[in-house]
């Protein structure tokens, strides 16, 4: 018995929406840039989950290939983002995003 015969797709939509909103909350709620990165990863995963669910329900492998590419881009993004973060820490001494307001004035 597989999931697509027993679980309505609405439940997957609701789960993805909940995970995505948790990610949005994390981006708005915290000041540590690393936690914000993790929240962005959470949002990407919510979208991935929904893509896999739709692809599985429609029996279309293109959706799963697309998730594969999203993972590729996410991995590249994390590598570059963390390098930027280490650079910021080296220059300002913290990973607090509120320190980075030099463009404001």
């Amino acid at each position: 018995m597989s999931a697509i015969q027993t679980i309505p797709v609405n439940l997957y939509i609701l789960l993805s929406v909940a995970l995505f909103c948790i990610g949005v909350l994390g981006v708005l709620f915290r000041r540590n840039a690393i936690i914000i990165f993790m929240s962005v990863e959470l949002m990407l995963n919510a979208v991935n989950l929904l893509l896999v669910a739709f692809s599985s329900y429609w029996q279309d492998p293109a959706g799963q290939i697309f998730v594969f590419f999203v993972m590729v881009v996410a991995a590249a993004e994390v590598a570059v983002g963390l390098a930027i973060l280490v650079m910021i820490y080296r220059n300002t001494g913290s990973t607090d995003i509120d320190v980075l307001n030099k463009l404001k004035n």
């Binding site: 994390g26 690393i34 995963n45 492998p61």
Partner: protein
Amino acid sequence: MTLYLFYFLSFLAILCGLMVILEKNPIHSVLYLVITFFAIAGHYILLNAQFLAAVHIIVYAGAIMVLFLFVLMLLNLNKESEPHKSNMAKGAAVIASGLLLVILVGALKETASLPVSSIASEGTGINSMGLVKNLGQVLFTQFLLPFETASLLFLSAMVGAVLLGKRDIK
């Protein structure tokens, strides 16, 4: 049985996702995020996407989380020294994301259930769409150009990360 498993994995994913945000210590946040990723991988297995489940665990729980932990240890951030936002900013964040949740749920809860039973029963019975054989065939025929472009993306990301990480560039 499958439904209970779905509810358990969903509960685990949402609870650990919330703990990622609410936990003060960044190291604990990373570990909760690993649990969330394993729950999502369980969802992939439930959805017959075995290849993606394996890739998800290898890439996220294996590579990305190690990178996060490495940076946290390198910058010595494993202490609860993060200054907090003001209560007004926190309240605004909760209200904004709560409103987003309400709007999305309100817009999507009337979604008609997809007529899957007819599509799923057309297959051979054994669902093998998410296996490596099937996905590899699609990936290397229909999506060959994006696949090769991804290698260029990785190369440029690698060069960029190394350049950013160097202390002084002559």
